[in-house]
């Protein structure tokens, strides 16, 4: 068994895998991805998977997300069909007084060149005929879409493996030590040494950080989703709150709860989600729910991603964030530039862990 690597990536969700794949385009040997379970057992396996740009604040963060969305068509051509669809995104509002907020959002985006339209009631109904006719309006952006998260992680992994990246599953990392210029990564199945360590543990980043004496302030926020039986295609856009997948299933939900690592689904939130479904699209009342699932978001304390070098420990890197599906192509690209070239083509300074000092 090889135990010495250039770079070890801890965490095999979409973020760890995107970094692995993008690294493999530049150097093919000496990279190991370790996961305590099997890929997709973390947040990447229980997500809505919108590739979502509009409504993100501050507008600089929307801009960052936009660059990632722009990489998707290109990514699909490189790693294979990940069922990315640029449907356009619709955020409906049901109260006329929200129009003002929507307009201000559009204004703040105009300055950075992201076009959002604020739609009238008639325009929303024309775009999405099955929506509740009581809708007051919506914000709309062409850049939003969605992707199949299972295919995304699987394709990243297959491409990375083809390029020589090694993987170790069911192998929990229990400690990390730094000796001179080397890290020693202690795992359930053995010890590894390496020059660079990348922490891509999602919700578990705080725990991983502790192993190297670094404070990574991410909190857990649970989200619950209802999945319907396959329905004929009838939802045209990615609506904030729901989307229809290629196989016809509608994924519904946008809930936030603090429940630590508890990944149960609960009847109260399922009911509220069902209410939301019918409030947005009355016809969904007749649709059958096949299952409910929940996932835990890793949300950094100020809501923005934590990406880049950890200045206090040489050759230690971190990449954790909410909206990792949206951001994975860009984060993989920039982290690779950082490791290989020492600098990034797009500034990641606003997302440095330094800001929490």
């Amino acid at each position: 068994m090889n135990t010495s690597y250039e770079t070890i990536i801890i965490g095999g969700g979409v973020i760890g895998n995107s970094i692995a794949y993008h690294l493999s385009e530049r150097y093919r040997e000496g990279v190991l991805v370790i996961d305590k379970k099997y890929p997709l057992s973390g947040t990447s396996g229980s997500t809505q998977a919108w590739v979502w740009v509009h409504n993100k604040t501050p507008s600089s963060y929307a801009e960052f997300s936009m660059y990632s969305a722009e990489l998707y068509p290109y990514l699909s051509r490189k790693i294979g069909d990940v069922e990315y669809k640029r449907t356009g995104g619709l955020s409906p509002f049901f109260n006329e007084k929200d129009r003002d907020k929507a307009k201000r959002l559009a204004e703040s985006y105009r300055e950075i060149g992201i076009k959002i339209k604020v739609l009238s009631r008639e325009e929303v109904i024309e775009k999405e005929p099955s929506i509740n006719p009581n809708v007051a309006g919506a914000t709309f952006s062409k850049i939003d879409g969605n992707v199949n998260p299972f295919r995304l992680a699987d394709m990243y992994m297959r491409a990375a493996k083809k390029n020589g990246i090694e993987y170790s599953y069911y192998n929990e990392v229990i400690d990390i030590q730094k000796k001179n210029d080397q890290f020693i990564v202690f795992s359930k199945n053995g010890e590894y040494t390496c020059k660079n360590v990348i922490l891509a543990g999602g919700t578990w980043s705080r725990e991983l950080g502790k192993m190297v004496g670094v404070h990574i302030p991410v909190n857990q926020v649970r989200g619950q989703i209802l999945v319907t039986e396959p329905l004929k295609p009838f939802i045209n856009y990615t609506i904030s709150g729901m989307r229809q997948a290629n196989n016809g299933e509608v994924l519904i939900g946008y809930s936030m709860e603090e429940a630590g690592f508890n990944r149960s689904t609960t009847l109260d939130v399922m009911q509220e989600t069902a209410n939301m479904a019918m409030y947005y699209i009355p016809d969904l009342g007749k649709a059958k729910v096949v299952r409910a699932f929940s996932g835990i978001r890793a949300v950094p304390e100020d809501g923005l991603p934590i990406i880049g070098k950890v200045p206090s420990v040489e050759n230690l890197y971190v990449a954790t964030m909410h909206s990792g599906i949206t951001l994975s192509p860009l984060v993989g690209t920039l982290m690779t530039e950082l490791l290989v070239d020492g600098d990034t083509s797009l500034s990641i300074a606003p997302y440095s862990i330094e800001r929490f000092k």
């Binding site: 099997y38 299972f150 069911y170 209410n275 096949v290």
Partner: protein
């Protein structure tokens, strides 16, 4: 079993397709589910759960009784959204995306 034998009827997955994921290191039903959609259909793994456990047992030598069962998902048997709904239009945990946009001095933060 024949390579073409269908293991998951709802998602039409063959023995061969599931075998491949086990070869890649999957050790539980849920590992296979997330890669292939096995068990995500209307029957909620009622038909394929045991077949898949047997496959994992046979291919990896893991003790059959120790292979984790699929995580059953509410509502186990499909029910309509209408039945689940309480008709309330008051939302607390479920949010609208625009709720999260905050204004400061009349400008987006």
């Amino acid at each position: 079993m024949d390579k073409d034998t269908i293991i998951c009827r709802c998602e039409e997955l063959s023995f061969e397709e599931i075998e491949e994921v086990i070869c890649l290191g999957a050790e539980s039903f849920d590992d296979i589910k997330r890669i292939t959609r096995c068990g995500m259909g209307p029957c909620q793994a009622k038909i394929c759960a045991d077949l898949v456990s047997k496959m994992i047992h046979e291919q990896t030598g893991k003790i059959y009784e120790e292979i984790p069962m699929p995580r059953m998902r509410m509502p186990v048997s499909p029910i309509s959204i209408e039945t689940l709904s309480t008709n309330s239009q008051h939302f607390s945990t479920v949010k609208s995306v625009l709720d999260e946009v905050e204004l400061e001095d009349g400008k987006v933060r």
